[in-house]
Symmetry: none
DNA sequence: CATGAATGAGTGTTCATTCAT
DNA sequence: AATGAATGAACACTCATTCAT
């Protein structure tokens, strides 16, 4: 990004038409791949099926991605970024549990701007085997934790009398556990009524957050 | 053992030598498959690699399991059973958070009698695509929830002044979320110090359990 | 051919270049399969051997046929069609036996436009086990019978009673043909009523054995 | 068979108990193999299925036959012998067509003492590929021809020109039998001179087509 | 004599990847 | 830029054959 324009065009970072097209093609491929991965898994989805879903030939995909694995990695990276943005959105909210619930609700409705549950699970599993994915996961988790941290700091307005002053880190981790655990729950039991668990969730988050 | 009756006991379950050997072979295969599945995933592990790990020829495995899928299902079934037993063990404990921590500690040390994290994740992901696995998961979840239920009932000794009397179900779900979320956490961040989160976890479980 | 419209003809059946190539590939595969089936049988011929004979990779064949069985069925269908056409050719002939002899001569010389003997036998055998092949055989037999029927109708001209003393050997051979042909018939059409053909059979055997 | 007893037992050719048992085992295997071959074909039937049908272990079969192919060859040899005996039975009959019909009727009912149709076809097909089987077929055909020869000689009694108007269908069927039977003949005896059978064939077709 | 566990080469089939067009 | 035909090394699975018991 830094160090000058890659192509000698007027202006600093204006993409050429070709670059814009290439970017659009990449998006098409990634959208198709995401759909196929959700439906059949990373291993189960074939390049041919992704190509068909993207409406292009298998060969063309190799102009934009060097391998299937590269597509997987890019999908994972994007999903992690989406997850992080989703956490960030919660930060401004004054009613945390309601915001969490609302976020999960959108997520469960298949909002493509959020990480899909099956991909979340499969990515986590793959991360325990593939070093590259594992590193990406740890990095994303650190960032997410930092986001939650600043959120806690902002939210630590007047809160009184916690039974014990605990390590912030621990409470952060447990909040994350709660949310990811809920994610799995909703995959494995799609019929859970989110409204019904909201009060209990509120209680827990109150506890974690402080008062 | 040799030269006499093959079933010298009046009881019902004395296995013949052949049956014992067959059972041992099945165990060898399952142990090898578990290891390969952990290392490479359900789809990534080939029958050849499992056979090699088990120290036998590929063809021989088909004497004990009709297909690779049957092995996968058996692995999943056992892992689910182990998960359930692990929950049960916690029930008798007087110090719940400590027991949870202890359980997770054993689990993280790779105790083969507990469900492996990567398998847990991959099983959950696969369950969202494969109907048979999905059904097994839902069934196991119901049983686990029932176990937790009875545990709650037993533990509902004198507890006073909850801010709001909430639905039991919701609290059960959230406890499960917390634990499963912690499972994922430990896969994705193996360096988390369990002792450091114990106090906060205790706080949450107290909240969920009642007082 | 190049540079212009891909379908320059007003007619309906002008194939594109790609379609023509696909058709040619299918023919190459079928020709190779036919040869391999003749040499080694339906079950004895492997996809690898067919691919090698066709001068292509095994994987490529699956672009044109979904399975080995589909190739077998196509080969059988074509052979049945050829058989039927061969019967039809005879119809116009004024000298039937000469035409039959001529037809068999071409057939024995390996004319690939006629059904190969070994395939004929193996198809008949397989038809007694495989329902799909069995149905194809019965259907083809019905059509052939209908063709022969119309031939009879047209050919029922005046016939005079030759009574030439012929070589014994020839009559022996034909008796054997009759019996073995009847064997095939009864496999392919198990519902034939033997009583109903007895008089005609008697006539023929009298002719063969007799004065 | 000649040259003295193989084991130093009293008497010339009296089989020992062991030999008798071995012969019985061979029969069990052959009977099971015949059934399996009929149901699934030479290639489709596995040694395991034959062993199960015979009620013995796969390994034991190798004590009596060196290979699966040896079983196939023995089955074929026996079937050819049965065919020949069947022809012989016809010889004494005063009413040939009735005897043929009767023979085919028994055959179709699955008389295990006669060659099974599917085996007949498959054997004929296999004989065009396997030199050993081909030679066996040619040898058996020669013998059969010789049997028919003597039969002709004996049966050349006075025959009168019946000229009954018969069912068309029956004549159609027999024409088809004749042609298909000829097809088999030419595969099993490629040296047959078509010209030499033309006159007799003409006679038969005239009979079939004619008034 | 008899078993059946064990082998390993072979089967039909799939699929990531390449490349001539 | 784009195609899709082509490859070939997997894959899951089968089976004739062997051999320790």
């Amino acid at each position: 990004m830094s160090g000058g324009a890659r192509r000698p065009v007027a202006g600093a970072a204006a993409p050429t038409k070709a670059e814009a097209r290439a970017a659009a093609q990449r998006e098409r491929i990634l959208a198709a791949a995401r759909q196929c991965f959700i439906e059949r898994g990373f291993h189960g989805a074939s390049m041919a099926s992704i190509a068909q879903t993207a409406g292009m030939s298998p060969g063309l995909m190799y102009r934009y991605f060097p391998s299937k694995n590269a597509i997987v990695l890019e999908i994972i990276a994007r999903q992690l970024e989406h997850s992080r943005l989703r956490i960030r959105e919660l930060r401004g909210s004054s009613d945390l549990p309601a915001a969490i619930i609302q976020s999960f609700r959108k997520w469960r409705e298949g909002d493509p701007a959020t990480m899909h549950g099956a991909l979340f699970l499969e990515t986590s599993a793959e991360g325990s085997r593939d070093a590259q994915i594992g590193a990406a996961l740890r990095s994303a988790d650190q960032q997410t934790r930092a986001d939650l941290q600043s959120w806690f700091d902002a939210d630590a307005r007047k809160r009184t009398g916690q039974r014990v002053e605990q390590e912030r880190e621990a409470r952060l981790i447990l909040l994350q556990c709660l949310m990811e655990g809920l994610a799995i729950r909703l995959i494995r039991e799609p019929d859970i009524e989110l409204e019904e668990i909201e009060p209990a969730l509120r209680q827990l988050t109150d506890q974690l957050l402080g008062s």
